[in-house]
Structures are given as structure tokens and as C-alpha cells.
């Protein structure tokens, strides 16, 4: 084997408990296992049925996020719990019971560190370069922003990691996504990753781990890098990652669980080796000109169906393959959008700021830039759901909550909320939403609801104008 290795190669090799053979997958060690209420109960049941313990509780941490209420006061403030709330509460209680029984730390509702699992791992400094990070959640790819190998797993695998701290994995292929140039004002990390998903298509990176490289990626903050890595799964990738650099170290320094003192220096020295060597090769590379990107928005029913905001909706008839054509036509029918027509000017019913893609403090600051001194358009419902309690406190310290409330938006408690619409925050059938989340699948934000994915800036522009709007027209920057 030649000496030059990719970042992925290095991460993979570091975690081999047993290498892959012709007959068996590799046994990969897992450094950090994040747990939440929706995908863990059946795994704990399996452990119980087999009489197994959690091998490394100190490498495991649980939180409550997917189905938690984000209304002030939570369950306690609800006069009656309907059937759905009752079953959600039972699931949350079950997580608390499981964590207690198996000795796993839990950041429960009410804990000041509670929040969306992919927001809290980084902000607590748990996610660090060089680690393997897993969670029963496909957006675990978020943590790859730190130069970690981070990916989502199913519930059976959650049980595997709980019991053995290892996973059976077949080595994936590598895909370099290089974003060159420099982003123009008003164009953000979300626009970059939506454009990448459009380019690759919703299944285009299947079987691959993406490494994001290039001057645009290097210039992004950690929060923006997380936005990019978060949506790797939306192109089908197993994981997405960015080599750590000074931006990474700067972010981590002083975080509660980051190494301290001499351990910090040793860690940084090691982390600096986590980069793709000169001469190493990827199985595939795609290059995107970041300087040419514009605010991006989706028009269809998967994240690969996107376009720059000033383009007309693509015509399914232009697709050569019949089943692709039928699927695209079906998507437009569901969305109630017309091929050939521009989206700008289309009225929206709901704007959702939230999710593990875009509910960190920088995202809320972006939203506030547009909402400051303006008012939400009549008949538009606007929800602002911070990604964690910590983000919420920070936003309140900066007065962002006041900006949102003065503008007529709802300021909520931390959680996944309308990203997955399990907790009662949801669209009504037919409603059209601009959302900063990551999935626009049919009914994702509520049965019959229709979702357009966009950046916090674009979402904010829709909130104040009531129609799809290029945010640059409100920011006084060149369009």
C-alpha cells in the first residue's frame, strides 16, 4: 500500500479492532455513541432479553429531542395529554428508565444541556477530531465537520454498540466534494450543501463517504461546516467529513469535555495529522464553483430536487428516463408547483427555523438579521426552535428572542420540532412551508404538508414578505 492516505483511510484504520476479510466485515471501535428516545427502546429491550450490559457507558450519552414538546412549560403545561402526547411521554419515560437501569448519562428535558443530539455533541465538546461517532439517526454525519467518522445506524446496531462498543462495517468508497472559490454575500453553507445534493442527486453518493475540501469549505465556521456535513446523507452518503484545522481547534478549546492543559496540546498535535495526504486518491471527485452559487431552494419531494432561487422549476418532460420523469411529475403534483414557473413570489403559509441543520446560534443570528425591525407577513406562521437549551440561552442573552417575538414569530423550547413533526408541531395538509431543516419528503413536516428547504436567510426573507424571496433583495447586497 502506498504511504499517501485520505482522511477517511486514517480514521478507518485507527478504529479497526479486526480488519475486514473476504468472509467478514471489519469490526470498528466506536468512540462516542449518542442515544435518543425514538431509536433506542427496542435496543435496550434486546440487551435486557439477552442479559447484556452496556460495555462503555462513559462513551454513551442520551438526550431527548425528537418527540419533546417545544411549547413553553412542556407536558406539564398541557391541560390534557391526547393519545399522541401520551405515547410520546411514555417513550421519553422509557428512555429515562433505560438510562437509569443501564447507567447511561441522560440530558433529559429540563437539563440545561438538553437539545438536538447533533447540536449538543459538538457544543459540549464531546465530538472531537479523529473519533468514530454513531447514533440511531441518519444526520449523525453532522459530527464529521470535526474530522470524525460519524454515521447513522439502525436500532439493531444501536444494540450492538451498547453491548460491544463495536460495529460490523464494510469499507465504503470515498468521494471528494471540492468547493472552490469564495461565496458571495447572501449565499450560505446551506446553499452550498443544497447545491451539492442537487448535483449528486438523492442517491448519488450511496456507498461513499464524502470529504469536503476546497477554499469555500476552509473559510466556513464550525457551525457552517456542521450544516454542510449534516446533509451528506441527503445525497445518500454514509458520512461526510472535513479535515480539522485551526477553526476546529479554536471552536473546541475550552468546551466542557474537550481535553485540557497538556492533554489539549497532545490532542491538537495528533489532530493536525488528520488530513488527506498529498498524492492520496479518492474513488471519485466532483468540483463545484462556489463563486457561482446563489441562494438555493428545493422545489420537489427529496433534497436532490433543488435549484438556485431565481431559476424556473425544471420540467419533468425534459428527463429522458421514463420512471425518472414520472417520479418528477409526481413530486410537482404533490408540491402543487408548475414546471417552467419561477418560485419567487409563491405565497407561503409557514416558515420553520430549526433542526440539526440550521438551529445553532449563527443560524438564529442570520434569521435575526432579516427579521430585525421587520414584521412577519400576515397569515404566515413562523416558528423559531433553537437547537439546544444552550443555543436558546445564548440567543436570549443576545436579545434575538425579542427580535423574533417583536416580529411576530413563535419562540420555542429546544428540540427537533417541525423537522420531523412527531411532537405536535406540524403542517396542516396542503400548507406550504419554507424550512431550514433537511428533508422535504412527502408529509415529513406533517401529513399532506409541503416543504421547501432553504437557508435561514432565505427562510427569513419568506417570513417577512410572505412569498418566496431572494434574501439578497432584503440584505442590500448584489443579486
Amino acid at each position: 500500500m502506498s504511504g499517501a492516505r485520505t482522511l477517511f483511510d486514517k480514521l478507518w484504520e485507527r478504529h479497526l479492532v479486526r480488519p475486514q476479510t473476504d468472509a467478514t466485515p471489519a469490526v470498528l471501535y466506536i468512540d462516542l455513541h449518542l442515544v435518543h428516545e425514538v431509536t433506542s427502546a427496542q435496543a435496550f429491550t434486546e440487551l435486557r432479553n439477552r442479559g447484556l450490559k452496556v460495555r462503555a457507558p462513559q462513551r454513551t450519552i442520551a438526550t431527548m429531542d425528537h418527540s419533546t414538546p417545544t411549547t413553553p412549560g412542556g407536558f406539564k403545561a398541557m391541560p390534557v395529554l391526547d393519545a399522541s402526547a401520551t405515547s410520546r411521554k411514555a417513550q421519553l419515560d422509557q428512555l429515562a428508565k433505560n438510562c437509569e437501569e443501564f447507567g447511561i448519562p441522560l440530558l433529559a428535558l429540563g437539563d440545561k444541556r438538553q437539545g438536538i443530539v447533533h447540536v449538543i455533541g459538538p457544543e459540549l465538546g464531546l465530538t472531537q477530531p479523529g473519533m468514530t461517532v454513531v447514533c440511531g439517526d441518519s444526520h449523525t454525519s453532522t459530527h464529521g465537520a470535526f474530522g470524525a467518522l460519524a454515521f447513522g445506524i439502525g436500532t439493531s446496531q444501536v444494540a450492538h454498540v451498547l453491548a460491544s462498543q463495536c460495529l460490523l462495517q464494510t469499507r465504503p468508497k470515498t468521494l471528494e466534494v471540492r468547493v472552490d472559490g469564495k461565496l458571495r454575500p447572501g449565499v450560505s453553507a446551506k446553499d452550498v450543501i443544497l447545491a451539492v445534493c442537487t448535483r449528486l442527486g438523492v442517491g448519488g453518493a450511496t456507498g461513499h463517504v464524502i470529504e469536503y475540501t476546497g477554499s469555500v469549505i476552509r473559510a466556513l465556521s464550525m457551525e457552517e461546516r456542521m450544516t454542510v456535513c449534516n446533509m451528506s446523507i441527503e445525497a445518500g452518503a454514509r458520512a461526510g467529513m472535513i479535515a480539522p484545522d485551526e477553526t476546529t481547534f479554536e471552536y473546541l478549546k475550552g468546551k466542557p469535555h474537550a481535553p485540557k492543559g497538556a492533554e489539549w496540546d497532545a490532542a491538537v498535535a495528533d489532530w493536525k495529522t488528520l488530513r488527506t495526504d498529498e498524492g492520496a486518491t479518492y474513488d471519485q471527485t466532483i468540483v463545484i464553483d462556489g463563486s457561482a452559487l446563489e441562494p438555493w431552494i428545493t422545489y420537489g419531494t427529496n433534497p436532490g430536487m433543488g435549484m438556485s432561487i431565481n431559476q424556473p422549476v425544471p420540467d419533468p418532460a425534459s428527463l429522458a428516463d421514463r420512471s425518472e420523469r414520472d417520479s418528477a411529475a409526481k413530486a410537482l403534483k404533490y408540491m402543487g408547483l408548475e414546471a417552467g414557473k419561477k418560485l419567487a413570489g409563491t405565497p407561503v403559509d409557514v416558515v420553520f427555523f430549526g433542526s440539526c441543520t440550521n438551529a445553532r446560534i449563527s443560524d438564529l443570528r442570520d434569521a435575526a438579521t432579516v427579521l430585525r425591525g421587520r414584521h412577519v407577513a400576515p397569515n404566515v406562521r413562523v416558528l423559531v426552535v433553537p437547537g439546544s437549551q444552550q443555543v436558546k440561552r445564548q440567543a436570549e442573552a443576545e436579545g434575538l428572542d425579542v427580535i423574533f417575538k417583536d416580529a411576530g414569530a413563535e419562540w420555542r423550547e429546544a428540540g427537533c420540532s417541525m423537522c420531523i413533526a412527531m411532537n405536535g408541531d406540524q403542517l396542516r395538509p396542503g400548507q406550504l412551508a419554507v424550512s431550514t431543516s433537511n428533508r422535504n419528503f412527502e408529509g415529513r413536516q406533517g401529513s399532506g404538508g409541503r416543504t421547501l428547504l432553504a437557508s435561514p436567510l432565505t427562510a427569513a426573507a419568506a417570513a417577512v414578505t410572505g412569498v418566496i424571496t431572494d434574501p439578497r433583495t432584503l440584505l442590500e447586497v448584489a443579486v
Binding site: T39, A41, A90, T155, G236, G304, M422, P429
Partner: protein, 206 residues
């Protein structure tokens, strides 16, 4: 479990949609369950039922000829999106033992293999043939041992199955059992690699 269980013939259901995501297979509002069982009736819930809860007569699973079919034939990139294993439990609960498509999303494929729902990957041409030549009586035969799928025409194609998954399924061994036998190696690995993050307990998270 034995090899004979992994050879079966069945009629099949055609769902020509591409990029069927796991939110369609099992919408999120059904994920509040803490059990693996009981999700079958909600498989494809929002396509399968009308707003009033009655079966949507236009959806393929509600057609009389779909009854009893153990194989689902669907468009490419089946199972994309969320990692929810509930999607596999729902399909199995609805009576399916195999899904045929031209590509599968990674996490779905792993979840399916772990639960004995066979993800059968065929070429786009074979997939097109299965869809276009389908009649209510058409049957396919799945044989895991030989990794073959026999089309209604009698033509036989092979499909890829990771050797380890095949071994586990045919011999009734599960991945957990295998992993638990590697604990000596894991202990050695742990001794050689110290954690860089301060433990949660030490930081007072509990």
C-alpha cells in the same frame, strides 16, 4: 432457521416510484412505539389510506391481487432518508420477505439484512422487465443460498449479498452473537487507545 426457509416463490407487488424514502414507508408519527411489532398496518400509511382512514383504492397494496405477496418491487434508491429500522419492521410486518430494486440506500440495506428482509439488487433492465411484464399471477423465486432471483419468464439473475450476511441468515447466527465473540480483541484495543474526552461521569453529567 434453515436454508429451505430462504428459498421461496411468491407473487409480487410493483411500486414504480423512485427514491422511496423511509418517511413514506413508515411516517414519523408511528415511531413513538417502544416495540418492533405492530407496524405492518401502517406501512406506507399516507399512500395506503385516505384522510378518513379508509384504504386508498388506487394504492397498489390495497389491490386484491397484492394480497399475500411476499416480494415488493420498487424504483431505484429504495429506503433513502432516515435510519429508522421501523421501516424494515413495518415492511416485514406487512408480510414482505424481500424488496427488489436497482439500488438501495446504505442504512436501509443494513437494517434489512439484519432483520432477514432481503434487499435484492438487480440491474435497471431487470427491474424494468419485472415491472413491465407484471400480471397479478406473475411469480418470482428467491433463493438466498444461490443468491438468485428467478423472473416470471424463467430467466434467472444473481444478486449481491455480503458473504457474512448470507452466512448469518442461512445459519441463523446474528451479528450481535458474532460481535460478542470479539470482546477480547476489543479489550486489547481499548487498552491501547485511551479516550481523549473526559468521561461524562467525571464531568458530572449524571
Amino acid at each position: 432457521m434453515t436454508g429451505t426457509q430462504w428459498k421461496f416463490s411468491s407473487t409480487y407487488v410493483v411500486l414504480p416510484t423512485e427514491n422511496v424514502d423511509t418517511d413514506q414507508i413508515i411516517p414519523a408519527r408511528f415511531l413513538t412505539t417502544t416495540s418492533r411489532a405492530g407496524l405492518g398496518p401502517n406501512a406506507f400509511n399516507d399512500w395506503r389510506y385516505l384522510a378518513d382512514g379508509s384504504p386508498n383504492p388506487d394504492f397498489v397494496l390495497n389491490k386484491p391481487e397484492s394480497k399475500g405477496a411476499e416480494v415488493l418491487v420498487a424504483g431505484h434508491n429504495f429506503g433513502c432518508g432516515s435510519s429508522r429500522e421501523h421501516a424494515v419492521w413495518a415492511l416485514a410486518g406487512a408480510g414482505f420477505r424481500a424488496v427488489v430494486s436497482s439500488t438501495f440506500a446504505d442504512i436501509f440495506r443494513g437494517n434489512a439484512l439484519g432483520n432477514g428482509l432481503l434487499p435484492i439488487q438487480v440491474s435497471p433492465e431487470v427491474l424494468a422487465k419485472l415491472m413491465s411484464s407484471h400480471t397479478p399471477a406473475s411469480k418470482v423465486t428467491v433463493d438466498l443460498e444461490t443468491s438468485t432471483l428467478t423472473l416470471p419468464s424463467g430467466e434467472t439473475v444473481t444478486f449481491p449479498v455480503p458473504p457474512f450476511s448470507k452466512y448469518c441468515l442461512l445459519n441463523g447466527i446474528d451479528e450481535m452473537g458474532f460481535l460478542l465473540k470479539t470482546t477480547d480483541d476489543t479489550a486489547k484495543y481499548e487498552a491501547a487507545h485511551r479516550s481523549s474526552f473526559s468521561t461524562l461521569a467525571a464531568a458530572g453529567a449524571a
